[in-house]
């Protein structure tokens, strides 16, 4: 075991990860990665069926794990989650906003099959717009707002959110499984990240986001199975110079790094993780 493994970089810190209860999600891998770096981890998610497994996995890493049913689109639910996290674990140092997507994002459609077809800005219903913006963008604002006093009290806090290559280049009409509102919400996350970086920098809190291309999460695999082809809404493998999609683990490792001192001088940044498919 290396010296750094004996002195993990997030020892005794407390992290909240939203959207981390599904075993095959990026958030789940982030939660376990943070636990390996020494953090106690709160999983905030609607998917209660995954709670026992994820807390067991966090505790197997020797940290405290706490799963709290949370609807990030509901500010009262978020406030209650953060309150319980602080009451139980005493502090919050890290927030990772893992909830996102164009479907499977509300209590009603949590376990819904992949949404077929493309929901464009010009074709979406007002309900689509509000639902997708709420889960993807409002939720990040609510979570960030609720943890801010705790992060300000922390020394070296961090917030990491998920933008998307969809925010960089848009989604071509016909991009099944995603939506125009999603691309807009993810661009909003980039702006929110920059604004929070300015407001929280003086407190030593760093705020960054990653902008992935297609990541082989459970959600992407379910979509590919439904489509009968290997492509995500952001494109097929042939459109990626690196010739493959991202693994959950490599994206999660990057997100964990953004929570640690490895990135001590990065804030307000959007890190593109797309196999060279789009260079900003």
């Amino acid at each position: 075991m290396t010296e750094r493994a004996l002195h993990p970089s997030l020892a005794d810190r407390v992290a909240i990860v939203t959207g981390a209860a599904k075993r095959d999600s990026i958030g789940h891998a982030v939660a376990l990665g943070l636990a390996r770096e020494g953090a106690h981890v709160v999983v905030a998610d609607l998917y209660e069926a995954g709670f026992a497994d994820v807390t067991r996995a966090i505790e197997a890493a020797g940290r405290r794990g706490l799963a709290i049913r949370t609807d990030v689109a509901d500010p009262a639910s978020v406030e209650a989650m953060v309150g319980r996290a602080v009451a139980t674990l005493g502090r919050v140092d890290v927030l990772v906003n893992g909830v996102g997507g164009s479907w499977g994002i509300t209590p009603a459609d949590l376990l819904a099959p992949p949404r077929r077809g493309f929901v464009g800005l010009t074709t979406c219903s007002l309900d689509d717009w509000r639902t997708i913006l709420a889960a993807n963008l409002d939720g990040v604002f609510y979570c960030a707002r609720s943890v801010t006093p705790h992060l300000q009290a922390s020394r070296g806090g961090a917030i990491v959110s998920f933008a998307s290559v969809a925010a960089r280049k848009g989604l071509a009409p016909g991009s099944e499984g995603s939506s125009g509102p999603y691309a807009v919400a993810k661009a909003g996350i980039m702006a929110l990240t920059r604004q929070l970086a300015l407001e929280l920098g003086p407190y030593g809190v760093r705020v960054n986001c990653v902008a992935p291309g297609v990541v082989l999460s459970g959600r992407a695999r379910r979509l590919m199975a439904a489509l009968g082809q290997e492509r995500g809404p952001e494109g097929g493998r042939a459109a990626v110079p690196l010739g493959r999609f991202a693994t959950v683990d490599e994206v999660a490792a990057l997100v964990v790094a953004l929570c640690t001192d490895e990135t001590a001088y990065l804030t307000g940044a959007t890190i593109d993780v797309n196999g060279a498919s789009y260079s900003a």
Binding site: E262, Y265, T270, A276, A280
Partner: protein, 269 residues
């Protein structure tokens, strides 16, 4: 944090004798990376290698603006160190080094365009852009043959948002490095090679300290710090950590990116 995929690999670090290059060398050595370090500053390389006596490190003195020296370097590294996994192109700067003056002082004053003569334009382009091209060209074939590799180039905040300090030659050269990086990412992706750039902001190297940038007039230094959301200059180690990250498994799907390491001073496009 625990970075996987570094231990036992081989890295070439150019511009390693001082500042950011030195910090990268020390960090990668700590991760168990075997190092070939390159600089025109022979004494600086010697001191670096001596300080890392326990590590696997070989020093090569070369002027990377000279195509024949770069070709010779690649052949020598292949012979004496082995296959290269990571290529980190740090060599460069707003003043051009030479064997006679390997670590020239940074300009104490801004460089208006009319003060930049043809010779210094050419030398700064050569020092910052031609070196990156030549070194990539020399080491890419080996990476292609093994279908893997990571290249990290050095851009600058001067290219990202412009600069009132270093002159148009340096900003233009670093802008060129970004174009080189994006194009190589497209070209080499199918060969399993990831190519990225880091654009540092104000990093407090020994050379920066020596000219007291932003400290030559009362209040200027504080104004600079006030403009940086994190409220401090960067440390060479801050940049070295991001290089290690990009070379590690955590950087496996990052390619074509320019990573701004500037404390929030500029957010990128």
């Amino acid at each position: 944090m625990q970075l996987d995929g570094l231990d036992g690999r081989v890295a070439v670090v150019t511009g390693a004798a001082s500042g950011i290059g030195g910090a990268i060398t020390r960090r990668l050595a700590r991760e168990g990376v075997r190092l070939a370090v390159v600089d025109v500053h022979e004494a600086g390389l010697g001191a670096l290698a001596a300080a890392l006596a326990g590590a696997s490190i070989r020093a090569f003195t070369a002027d990377l603006t000279e195509p024949t020296e770069v070709a010779g370097l690649a052949a020598q590294v292949a012979r004496e160190v082995g296959d290269v996994d990571f290529l980190v192109n740090v060599a460069g700067g707003p003043v051009a080094p030479s064997r006679a003056d390997p670590l020239p002082a940074l300009p104490a004053r801004p460089r208006p365009i009319e003060t930049i003569d043809d010779l210094s334009w050419g030398r700064i382009l050569a020092t910052n852009l031609t070196t990156a091209f030549l070194v990539c060209r020399a080491f890419v074939p080996g990476m292609k043959a093994r279908r893997s590799g990571r290249i990290v180039n050095f851009a600058s905040i001067a290219a990202r948002r412009g600069s009132d300090r270093v002159g148009v030659h340096y900003a233009a050269a670093k802008g060129g490095v970004i174009g080189l990086t994006k194009t190589l990412a497209l070209e080499l992706g199918p060969h399993g090679i990831r190519v990225n750039a880091i654009a540092p902001g104000y990093i407090n190297t020994e050379r920066m300290e020596a000219v007291a940038w932003g400290r030559d007039a009362s209040g200027q230094h504080q104004a600079l710090l006030d403009a940086i959301p994190l409220g401090r200059l960067g440390r060479p180690d801050d940049v070295a950590a991001v290089v290690a990250l990009l070379c590690s498994d955590a950087g496996g799907y990052v390619s074509g990116a320019t990573i701004d390491v500037n404390g929030g001073l500029y957010f990128g496009p």
